[in-house]
């Protein structure tokens, strides 16, 4: 990071990645105590802990780059200051929605960190290499359940198929391009959202093809975008209000 890089673009990349992980981790933690079976309760909690821990690692990197400390950044911003995609902020819904989101989103975040493992931004590359190891397990879990339920009963197949169709436009919103992305690409920090999207299509197609499910036709023009520039669904602000409810009683105190 010695040469002059576009710090705004780098921070934007870090913020959107960390915000995605925090919000999805928060959502997945809502399954604690109410999962469809104890083992899934435990699995969703475990993955939620990983994702929140991963977001913390990136907020710490942002802190090193001059941003506020992780608790302030995560707990004290309002919805329009968050850069997560809309997909992760949607409520957990029924289990099929949370599972399909876990499958579609986690493939994208694994690929993102695989790309970032070779980033010219060394501290980011270091974090990415560590997180890839954790996220591989999330993918194994997601693929296993998509394969099991995607070939299980008529009901499970139909629930997953309907959800897949509803979720795809939101999943495409993950790949919303940033205005300054070309600088990141030329600085070899990140290979870009389009590249990520192409790889993602390949990965999810492989899994879906091994089930009774049909991957809906899709292209990026249908993506539910806006999240990356702070335009969110009405679901995000209440989530943030809840998250900060205790801390905001006295933000200056140690809890």
């Amino acid at each position: 990071m010695d040469k002059v890089i576009n710090k705004i673009a780098l921070k934007e990349l870090l913020y959107k990645t960390a915000d995605d992980l925090l919000i999805l981790g928060h959502r997945n933690s809502e399954w604690t105590g109410i999962g469809p079976l104890l083992e899934e309760d435990i699995a969703f909690s475990s993955m939620a802990q990983d994702k929140i821990g991963q977001s913390l690692a990136i907020y710490e990197l942002l802190h090193d780059l001059g941003e506020a400390d992780p608790d302030t950044v995560a707990f004290m911003r309002n919805a329009e200051q968050f850069h997560n995609c809309k997909f992760v902020e949607l409520p957990i819904g029924e289990y099929e929605f949370s599972l399909v989101r876990h499958f579609l989103y986690d493939h994208s975040i694994l690929l993102r960190f695989q790309q970032l493992s070779t980033s010219s931004c060394q501290p980011l590359a270091q974090i990415a290499r560590k997180l890839v190891g954790e996220l591989r397990y999330h993918i194994m879990h997601a693929d296993l359940f998509i394969k099991k339920l995607g070939t299980g009963t008529d009901e499970s197949i139909s629930r997953l198929q309907t959800t897949l169709e509803q979720a795809i436009p939101f999943a495409l919103g993950v790949f919303e391009r940033s205005p300054q992305e070309s600088d990141l690409i030329s600085d070899l920090i990140f290979t870009g959202e389009d590249d990520l999207y192409t790889r993602w299509c390949h990965e999810i197609t492989k899994v879906i093809e091994s089930t009774a499910l049909v991957l809906p036709q899709h292209n990026l023009s249908e993506a539910k975008t806006g999240g990356r520039i702070g335009q969110h669904t009405p679901h995000l602000q209440p989530l943030l209000d809840e998250m900060a409810e205790v801390l905001r009683l006295d933000p200056s105190t140690d809890w």
Partner: protein, 328 residues
């Protein structure tokens, strides 16, 4: 975590008359000699029945206990607390999984146990029928309820049934981390701002009476459990557990300059026993029989989770489901 004070059925000694006296003697000799009983071993009907009841109640307490604290995961103040609380509550659900498996070795399926929980046929720890109104309540639960659970579980881990003892040993190790987390969080509130001190004192006031109920009715009015003690199903009396808890934690509470809402609480230096105001055992009975502040809500949440998840469990059991190589 776990509420002690199991609701044992009154022991019917005439049941024992139906057991093979030679096998019963051998069984009792093994237990007296400190051996563990394993699932395939001969055991009296009453032993099996009471163990299923006890382990099942314990398992239910773990998943129901995940609910009052679980509601604070999404509101925990800051990364450190949020991550710790998530891990802690996940542990509790993991304990339920271990315990249901231990109970299954005695012949009752997890599905049947879950059904009995929802139908109200089997109990869980009474303490989880009270609400966790503030963040401070969740920290008091993590500290004191888990502390109580350890007192109880450490005693039971020396019991006679192998699978239950092994599960309890692992559970106790995890609970001891919960206790540290809870104590740490309470210390921060008790030594923090005025708002925080007030929050934690009010939470302690709310949780003290249920905590005194936690170990069950006093020995003098409890169901007689001599045979269960002899078989090492029940390892300590309710009063012994309560005394041990008071001995270990009242000084720690006072050290934080928090007050216990019982003006009569003191240690009698002659008898070495704690004296306290007898908690309201009528309330205990009322709550255990379904009329507590949160009984209906707790069971409704559990019922909803079971119903919403039914299609998942059914699909996973389908023999036609694509075989997926196990992860490990």
């Amino acid at each position: 975590m776990y509420g002690g004070g199991n609701t044992f059925e009154a022991t019917k000694f005439d049941n024992l008359a139906k057991e093979d006296p030679i096998k019963l003697d051998e069984f009792e000799a093994r237990i007296a000699g400190g051996e563990k009983i394993e699932p395939a071993d001969w055991m009296p009907v009453l032993y099996r029945k009471q163990l299923i009841r006890m382990i099942e109640q314990h398992a239910h307490s773990e998943i129901i206990g995940a609910l009052p604290e679980g509601t604070w995961i999404t509101r925990a103040p800051g990364f450190k607390r949020k991550l710790a609380l998530m891990a802690k509550v996940q542990d509790e659900v993991g304990h339920a999984q271990l315990l249901y498996s231990a109970a299954e070795t005695l012949g009752k399926s997890r599905e049947d146990m879950m059904q009995d929980l929802i139908n109200g046929r089997s109990k869980y720890s009474n303490i989880f029928n009270y609400p966790a109104l503030t963040w401070a309540d969740s920290t008091i639960i993590s500290w004191l309820v888990d502390a109580g659970a350890i007192v109880n579980q450490l005693a039971n881990s020396k019991g006679s049934y192998g699978p239950y003892c092994r599960a309890l040993e692992r559970i106790c190790v995890e609970e001891s981390f919960h206790l540290k987390y809870g104590h740490h969080a309470v210390i921060h509130l008790a030594t923090g701002s005025k708002i925080q001190r007030q929050m934690v004192q009010e939470a302690l006031n709310r949780w003290w009476p249920p905590m005194m109920h936690f170990f069950g009715p006093p020995d003098r009015i409890s169901v007689h459990t001599e045979v269960l003690m002899k078989w090492k199903v029940k390892m300590a009396t309710n009063d012994e557990c309560r005394q041990q808890f008071l001995d270990m934690y009242v000084p720690k509470i006072w050290e934080l300059r928090l007050s216990v809402p019982d003006p009569n609480l003191q240690k009698n230096e002659e008898t070495r026993q704690w004296e306290y105001t007898e908690p309201d055992w009528e309330e205990f009975k009322r709550v255990i029989n379904g009329d507590g502040p949160c009984n209906k809500e707790r069971l409704a949440v559990r019922r909803m989770a079971e119903e919403r998840g039914r299609w998942v469990r059914k699909a996973l059991l389908t023999p036609d489901a694509k075989y997926v190589t196990p992860l490990a």
